[in-house]
């Protein structure tokens, strides 16, 4: 159950907003409207990704006010929530992502020293 539910929903979502399989990192940010907290979280995420995963990531922002059913499907309680869907395993971080050091560790975003 634990492993199948997110996968199933992942497929359901895929047709509308298909993650690029080649991109490697598929991140979802769940928010509820454009609150200061969600804007901060998105800005922080964008910055960290650009810094560590330039060109290899995709951010999907899900506004639960518009798609409330996804809150139950994806087991969201706290907002904002960042879900790393790919690469597996799935990881979750809640909060406005203000501590970038911790995000890097939590999401295993190892810093790549330039192009190689």
């Amino acid at each position: 159950m634990k492993a199948t539910t997110p996968k199933k929903h992942g497929i359901e979502i895929a047709h509308s907003d298909a993650p690029d399989p080649g991109a490697g990192w598929n991140l979802r940010l769940y928010v509820a409207g454009q609150t200061p907290k969600s804007l901060t979280a998105f800005a922080n995420l964008k910055r960290i990704c650009e810094e560590h995963l330039a060109g290899r990531y995709q951010i999907e922002v899900i506004d639960l006010l518009k798609q409330p059913e996804l809150a139950q499907m994806d087991q969201i309680i706290a907002l904002p929530t960042l879900v790393r869907r790919l690469p597996e395993p799935i990881k979750r971080i809640v909060g406005d992502l203000s501590n970038s050091e911790r995000i890097v560790v939590g999401m295993n975003l190892e810093k790549r020293p330039g192009p190689s």
Binding site: A71, A78, L79, I93, G95
Partner: protein, 573 residues
């Protein structure tokens, strides 16, 4: 919804539909407000909450949302299937929605500020989907295991409960009891309207579940601990005396089934719907008395439910046939139902609940429990006493004549029941064995009978092949006389009566003689008196004559004297 006219309007309540709970709380849980249901693990709080939703959806047309933090939908389905609840059907009809919130420690990392808006959105979505009026959060404390920021969680929970209140959701929030606190996370500080505590205790190897309303703001409520049980039809809470003493009482009388006993009870028998206690030592014919009542009831075409804790149904039927009471036809016609069970097969609660249920199904006008005293082996004395109170209470409220048979022990205690049951009953009949002159005889008397002019006699009775027969008993100087002693006494009394009669006649005769003598004496006295009176009269007449003569003489003398004086004067001049 009723219009609120003034601030004094009573707090609105929502019936839960859980057996007995609405009676204790005087109508249910506070409408549109959260209620905290807490208790230790395994006390039945999840089931309580779920039944609240299911009853709401099925009985009160109030769809519900269950947000569960501990059990998956599958688990819940399995748990309640054994209780006869089909939650799949309710989910399919959009009367119930179950949202399993899975929280696993370590899976979520917290970075900076967040809130629980996701939870709000989920709830709002579910509420909108089924048009919910009821919400259950079971057990929201699990959030504290998954998220570590206490400050955020607490303020968000406060906001959540306020939010639910604002939406008018009648909510049950469950919480696990920890030590002295009602809930591990102190949820009671957020929920102040109504707090219900569940408890599961084992005393003397028999487990009892109990419920107590700890708090109910703005409402009166029973403060007792109420036992409850969970069986195949869900939760049943058994109010001890929730209805107070407000029964409808009947003035109608029903026959006891025993010729002669009706006469002892004001000539008409028991009151319909009253409670009768029949106590007696072993082998005094208690079951026979009960069988008579059953027969009389069924013969009127009414139903009678017989709970036997000693004999099997067939045993009772056979034994009663030997004393001329054939109950078999009534069993066939479904007017009589006999339920036999060993007292120790269940705890007391289960016994009472089973009785409640069977009475509810069968709807009898007479319930016989033979013997209630045996139930004592299924619980402590204190528990048994409350069981009796509740049983009597239940029967009275339903206008059922309760006939409770109590076995009393031998030594001189036949007038105490040991269960303080006697003060609750309306009519108390006592059966006793009296051992005298080498034989043992049975007597019956009415110890009390409220609201009727009952006999104060001690009556001897025989159990014959035609049932119980009452005969006159005799009170002699040595106590109640029965059997051969009674016959001897009867003979003695006849002789005594004859002697008395003769004595009376003799005395009357003597009196007549004396009266005659007296009258003769009076006659003689009167004659003497008359003679005396005549004598006196005559004497008085003589006296008067003489007085008159004296007067005349004196006049004459005076005249002659004056003449003499004058002549003397003239001579002197």
């Amino acid at each position: 919804m009723p219009k609120v006219n003034s601030r004094l309007t009573m707090l609105e309540k929502v019936p839960t539909g859980i057996n007995g709970l609405d009676e204790i709380t005087g109508g249910g849980l506070p409408a549109g407000r959260p209620t905290l249901v807490c208790g230790a693990a395994g006390c039945g709080k999840s089931l309580f909450a779920l039944e609240f939703l299911i009853r709401g959806a099925t009985k009160h047309d109030q769809p519900g949302v269950l947000m569960t933090f501990e059990e998956s939908v599958d688990d819940i389905r399995k748990n309640v299937a054994s209780l006869g609840f089909d939650i799949d059907a309710l989910i399919a009809q959009k009367r119930l929605i179950i949202d399993f919130v899975r929280i696993e420690r370590g899976e979520i990392e917290e970075q900076g500020e967040y809130d629980l808006e996701g939870l709000f959105i989920r709830l709002a979505h579910s509420i909108a989907l089924v048009g919910a009026k009821r919400v259950v959060l079971d057990t929201i404390e699990a959030l504290f295991a998954g998220l570590s920021n206490q400050a955020i969680l607490r303020s968000e929970l406060r906001r959540l409960f306020g939010w639910l209140k604002q939406r008018g959701m009648t909510t049950i929030i469950t919480g696990e009891r920890a030590g002295d606190q009602l809930t591990r996370q102190g949820l009671e500080e957020f929920i102040s309207d109504c707090v219900i505590l569940l408890d599961h205790r084992v005393i003397g190897q028999i487990s009892t579940r109990r419920l107590r309303v700890v708090k109910y703001r703005g409402s009166t409520h029973g403060t007792n601990e109420y036992p409850f049980l969970i069986d195949e039809s869900g939760i049943s809470i058994l109010p001890v005396t929730s209805s107070g003493l407000e029964y409808e009482v009947s003035a109608e009388r029903v026959s006891t089934g025993v010729g002669g006993l009706d006469e002892m009870l004001g000539g008409l028998g028991y009151y319909r719907g009253s409670t009768v206690l029949l106590s007696g030592t072993a082998g005094t014919g208690k079951t026979s008395m009960a069988a008579h009542l059953a027969q009389a009831t069924c013969a009127r075409g009414e139903r009678c439910l017989f709970f036997s804790f000693e004999e099997s149904a067939s045993q009772i039927l056979r034994n009663m046939r030997t004393i001329g009471i054939d109950l078999q036809p009534f069993v066939r016609k479904e007017l009589l139902r006999i339920h036999s069970a060993r007292p120790t097969v269940y705890g007391l609660e289960m016994h009472l609940a089973r009785m409640h249920k069977l009475i509810g199904q069968f709807r009898p006008t007479v319930v016989i429990v033979d013997p209630v005293s045996n139930l004592r082996s299924a619980g402590t004395n204190e528990e048994t006493a409350t069981l009796f109170v509740r049983l009597v209470d239940f029967l009275r409220r339903n206008g059922i004549l309760g006939f409770l048979v109590s076995l009393t022990s031998w030594a001189g205690t036949s007038e105490t029941t040991g269960d303080s049951i006697s003060s609750m009953v309306d009519t108390w009949l006592l059966l006793r064995d009296i051992e005298l002159s080498g034989e043992r005889n049975k007597v019956l008397y009415v110890r009390k009978s409220r609201g009727m002019n009952h006999s104060n006699q001690v009556r001897e009775f025989h159990i014959t092949s035609k049932g119980v027969k009452l005969v006159e008993a005799y009170l002699g100087p040595g106590g109640v006389l029965t059997g051969a002693a009674r016959l001897a006494q009867e003979t003695r009394e006849v002789a005594e009566a004859e002697r008395l009669k003769q004595e009376m006649e003799r005395r009357e005769l003597a009196l007549t003689h004396r009266r005659k003598a007296m009258e003769a004496q009076i006659e003689a006295l009167r004659a003497a008196f008359d003679a005396e009176a005549e004598e006196l009269r005559r004497t008085a007449a003589n006296g008067r004559d003489r007085l008159g003569q004296l007067e005349i003489d004196r006049e004459a003398m005076a005249r002659s004297r004056r003449v003499t004086e004058r002549s003397k004067k003239n001579n002197h001049r």
